[in-house]
């Protein structure tokens, strides 16, 4: 259910401290053989074009609530393009065009009455390269809630809660007024996760969030994802198959389909992560995960 814009603006903010530990929606019972019972996203026959160039063809996927869904596949197969369709970031690219349907919580994501900025408040995004604002650690987190009307008296609590959830609080609590650029790359990325959490989204999209980080920082982010999945639906793009295997519940494999019409990204299969990595249905998936391709 997507609130109308007016309702979104006036949505009361939950009490800020302590962090609400209970998920907002009851966790759906999962029956692997039934696929995803209560999908947050239902994508049907999605095709995507950058001007004349088709980047994705006929992608159909369901993404379940409170799961981690991983997208893997060779570079250039459209993983970034696809994840950016899910929060309408691609609206910003001139000449880009979406065909097909994406339902978000039962309503068309690209519906005429739906504003992209309302969508992006409910579906947060973490990028490949950490991209904190050139501001203090505190302001990086507080800026968006402040603009969204969170009361001044609640901001301190919200900042602390968000930093705690991103397991960054202990490292930065004594230097909240310092520049975000004084942090290490891994800390910056967790700051960006905290910044997304502070908007109180339902979904967090992560596009190769660890590709610029060292193994230790990567491990901390993976731990964090496991903690966050109780409260958020998480979608992650990764080029690291071990990472997909470690963190995700379901894995989608994309590849590039080469034909006379050119190179276009397609979804090969999606399934339980354990199945995809042990007994994939498609030969192309098997070739990729066993390293014979890509």
């Amino acid at each position: 259910m997507i609130d109308t814009p007016a309702q979104v603006e006036s949505r009361p903010t939950a009490p800020s401290v302590p962090a609400p530990e209970v998920p907002r929606q009851p966790r759906p019972e999962r029956h692997p053989e039934e696929g995803t019972p209560d999908p947050v996203f239902r994508v049907k026959d999605l095709s995507f074009y950058y001007g004349p160039h088709q980047a994705l063809r006929d992608v159909s996927i369901d993404i379940g609530a409170h799961e981690i869904t991983a997208f893997i596949g060779p570079s250039g197969c459209g993983k970034t393009t696809f994840i950016r369709c899910l929060n309408r970031m691609n609206d910003l690219i001139p000449g880009a065009r979406v065909e097909g349907e994406i339902d978000f919580e039962g309503r068309p994501l690209y519906g005429a009455d739906i504003r992209a900025i309302d969508i992006r408040r409910r579906i947060g995004m973490v990028f490949q390269k950490p991209n904190p604002f050139p501001k203090s650690i505190y302001d990086n987190i507080a800026l968006t809630p402040r603009r969204n009307g969170v009361k001044k008296s609640e901001l301190d609590g919200l900042v602390e809660e968000s930093l705690r959830r991103a397991s960054l609080w202990d490292e930065v609590k004594d230097k909240l007024q310092q520049s975000a650029f004084s942090l290490s790359g891994g800390q910056q990325q967790r700051l960006c996760i905290a910044r997304a959490i502070a908007v109180r989204p339902d979904v967090i999209l992560m596009d190769e969030p660890c590709s610029a980080l060292d193994p230790v920082a990567t491990f901390r982010i993976e731990e964090l994802m496991a903690e966050l999945k109780g409260d958020y639906t998480i979608v992650i793009v990764t080029h690291n198959m071990q990472q997909a295997a470690r963190v995700s519940d379901r894995t989608a494999f994309f590849t590039v389909d080469v034909s006379d019409q050119g190179r276009v990204g397609v979804l090969v299969e999606i399934g339980e992560t354990s199945n995809i990595f042990t007994s994939p249905e498609d030969q192309r998936t098997e070739d990729y995960i066993t390293g014979r391709f890509g």
């Binding site: 929060n87 947060g124 990028f127 991209n131 968006t144 650029f181 910056q188």
Partner: protein, 280 residues
């Protein structure tokens, strides 16, 4: 080996020559202006008006005009620069760029003349602050637009994406995220605009008029005295006294310019620091 030495020597002589070509005229202007101004230099310059032996009214007039340019050309130019850098696409963008380029190539005297025909005559404003400020603003507008646009384009795209990804609207993105790191660049553009306005005569000849009285803030029907006007008119008057006053006005203009350039330096140093901080 010798060929390289000769090439080297030739290169360094060319560099030295180029340096002298730039430095010598600037120095000679500075020295000759201050030398000629010497007899007139003194506190009376600041305390008396042009009907006495000072240029107080001209200094104040120039400062008032600079304030006007800052508000008008600053406001319109920064807004247009933001629009070009962040929002304009297709036909609007091309059209705005086209007009901005036409303005940039327009001779100052033509701008003054058009200002005279329209504002001074047609609108019955007479020689006035409004006519002068608008003419000067039209002259410097392209600089402000261009520097604002360039400063914004230098802000890395990842900040725009971060902002959009949080669901911040475009107004917030521009004012809270993009303008702060671009501010030093924008400000140094404004300072260049003010420096140009300080030294220009042509657009004011037809629009400002002159007055021995201190300027009022009245927009129309009141003539405005200004420094380059003193330089120009007193130089044409007979007598050593007038010539010294002319040179003194020139010296004050130069001092104002040097102050503006120094402020611009400080600001752009701040800009470099800010961008250095932003690259991780």
């Amino acid at each position: 080996m010798t060929a390289r030495r000769i090439r080297n020597a030739a290169f360094w002589s060319a560099c030295t020559l180029a340096f002298l070509c730039v430095a010598a005229p600037a120095l000679s202007v500075l020295i000759s202006v201050f030398h000629q101004a010497l007899p007139a230099l003194g506190w009376s310059l600041l305390l008396k008006r042009t009907n006495g032996i000072g240029i107080q009214n001209a200094i104040l007039g120039t400062l008032v005009m600079l304030l006007g340019v800052l508000i008008l050309a600053g406001g319109v130019g920064v807004a247009a620069g933001i629009y070009l850098a962040e929002f304009a696409t297709g036909r609007h963008e091309r059209l705005l760029r086209f007009f901005s380029e036409i303005l940039a190539g327009m001779p100052a005297i033509v701008i003054g003349y058009i200002g005279y025909i329209t504002m001074v005559v047609q609108f019955h404003w007479g020689f006035s602050l409004a006519a002068a400020v608008i003419s000067l603003s039209i002259l410097v507008l392209p600089y402000v637009v261009k520097t604002t646009e360039v400063a914004l384009r230098q802000v890395p795209t990842f900040l725009r994406e971060a902002s959009a990804g949080l669901g911040l609207d475009s107004t917030t993105t521009v004012w809270r995220i993009l303008i702060p790191p671009a501010l030093p660049g924008i400000v140094s553009g404004l300072i260049v605009a003010l420096a140009i306005s300080t030294g220009e005569l042509a657009p004011l000849l037809f629009t400002a008029g002159f007055s021995d009285q201190n300027p009022s803030l009245a927009l129309v029907h009141h003539q405005v005295p200004y420094l380059t006007g003193v330089i120009f008119t007193d130089l044409a008057l007979p007598g050593a006294r007038a010539h010294a006053t002319s040179a003194a006005a020139g010296a004050v203009t130069l001092i104002l310019l040097i102050i503006l350039i120094a402020v611009g330096r400080l600001v752009s140093r701040g800009a470099r620091r800010a961008t250095a901080r932003m690259t991780i």
